[in-house]
Symmetry: C2
Subunit: 403 residues, 2 copies
Amino acid sequence: MTTPLQGNAIIGQSGGPTAVINQSLVGVVEGLHAAKFKGKIFGARHAVDGMMSGDYIDLTAWPQDRLDRLAATPSSGLGSSRSKPKADDVKAMTKYFEKHNVRYFFYIGGNDSSDTCRIVSEIAQADGYEMHSFHIPKTVDNDLVLNDHTPGWGSAAKFVAQAFMGDDLDNQALPGIKINVVMGRHAGFLTAASVLGRRPGTNDGPHLVYVPEADFDAEKFVKDVAKVYDKIGRCVVAVSEGIHDKDGTPMAAKLAQMQGHRVERDAHGNVQLSGSGALADFLAQAVKDYMGRRTRVRADTYGYLQRSFAGLVSENDAAEARAAGRKAAELACSGVRSGSIAIQRVPGNDYKIEYNRIELTDVAAKTRHLPTEWIVKGNNISEKFVEYAAPIVGKLPVTERVD
Amino acid sequence: MTTPLQGNAIIGQSGGPTAVINQSLVGVVEGLHAAKFKGKIFGARHAVDGMMSGDYIDLTAWPQDRLDRLAATPSSGLGSSRSKPKADDVKAMTKYFEKHNVRYFFYIGGNDSSDTCRIVSEIAQADGYEMHSFHIPKTVDNDLVLNDHTPGWGSAAKFVAQAFMGDDLDNQALPGIKINVVMGRHAGFLTAASVLGRRPGTNDGPHLVYVPEADFDAEKFVKDVAKVYDKIGRCVVAVSEGIHDKDGTPMAAKLAQMQGHRVERDAHGNVQLSGSGALADFLAQAVKDYMGRRTRVRADTYGYLQRSFAGLVSENDAAEARAAGRKAAELACSGVRSGSIAIQRVPGNDYKIEYNRIELTDVAAKTRHLPTEWIVKGNNISEKFVEYAAPIVGKLPVTERVD
């Protein structure tokens, strides 16, 4: 703890948008106001890109009703970026930080973004530029270490759960095999959310769930599907976009190469997975080839709908995203120099959350995985996951069946 | 008008499920109870398939709370079918109709289903089996003639509108080209709904909209996209799955043939369009090839999510689906022998709907199209459509921007 610096604040939103990332942005603004912050509150357009070019916007005087509307708006209101700044880029940023006397740096994002926050913080410090640097967690992948869960995931998980509820009912009406590909590069949390609307002890789907934490074997996959189909006459499958073979090669990348397409990568080295239906179509074709008969096989890729659908959020997720932003502002204004806000669950029967400060280096560029004990036989998800996720995601629609 | 027949009733749900088709099922049951119907109320599992095999379920004694829960459940609770019955099939059905003394036949579905209802009604009549036969409209395609709109479309349109609102905000945050394929075989109403959240006078997307009512030219398409992208640095595109070239060949079918896949058709001769991301991926690749530079191009296919997502309906759509079912029961119980319920708008400033009886032959197997005057330059949708659709779809989420 030190004396808070005198100066202005900047906020950036980085990486993939979520339905509640603007809650965190507004949380920071509210937290600064609540702490009687004297400086200006800037937003950087398109995260580090706007910081490098001085593309700032002044949020200081925004009235509460406008803040509230922005908080309820999906996607990153300031614009986002997937750029990873190098030392020279950080020097470009600090030039504008100095020009505008920015001494409070808030960065909302996932594990790549927390690493960016760490890099900016460390380089600025090494250059003798004093600054408060805070990371606020955000990712639909739910893969930040030391966090019970991450803002953005709860709302995306709710979307996925409701999508599977509807799709499973659709598949009951017109039986066949239905494969749905869900976001999730390294972590299967979002794909696991497909089971949240499943009523225990019924034939509700999804009947098979494949996450990146279990190696994917296409031959076993088609056999799994055929087995379910032969037993109940239909089969709904959830597949993470990030499934990979036992060598760790993503199936989506293998497929793109097979088709002669260039494999796109971002600045963090991540292979492009979303924004294509190829993986789902490939899996559907593999099932058709294996079944060798006229079976109705369909595939959907949920794509970007999952992360920034307008008008569908988990209430807890929205509230927690806001509170995480407020907490970062509160800590910075009390003199703490840097950190990441971790959302941690208080042990006990009731769902209760604490917002704790952890070191940037503890979270940066690390990936948390779905606990292996929640994965059943490599192709399903256990009730332990449902117990974990239910309070985060909130109530799901009630359905009735003609049984 | 004749004297109502003495006997029991059967209800079927046919074709693609919707988010409100169970409202119509419950509406028929409620309408029969309200008319003091003395007979039993059966549901046929999987539409004509269950009628041909005598797979009936008794709904007569269902309590109101269970009916209400079923009404709020997406997809066809009784199960659906895409079978088109032939004369022999209808004989199989009438065998069970006679066995159970079924004299009231209610069939909920789209234009193929209204044709099925007509066939069953006509063959039964020709065979001397007296029966009341009613069709209740349902289709997310909104393509039934003589109807202002069709139950199921309003909720699917709301989903599409909210999806595009979120996706356009996502595209603003991480600019690039985004292509979304929307359901709609012959009619562009659902794809047109992509514009409902667009604020007039802004750069909001979708910036281009392609519907089956305008011939699709892939060369013009890529030029249209490049033009928007060069102007505003991003481009969101809505494309109907049913787009076809000037010869009428669906792009999806052309593509499947190009890739050496079998083109699936249902009993009504319809080519399979949904359940594959191939069309979207093809269009994305065409744009990448044309742009010839590292442009971020992504494609999503909304797929089955649009028609039976759990927990997202238009309130007017749900209420109208129920009322249409009630109206059919009411007419039948008052002695009317056959008909289809048409949802028609009362002229005037306020949104008001009437449920009118039309002949089965007037609606069966006919397709209504998006009025050409609502299509702008073959690649966009006018405000006239928004005026038409807004009250059907209902309120959309309010958003705020950092401008």
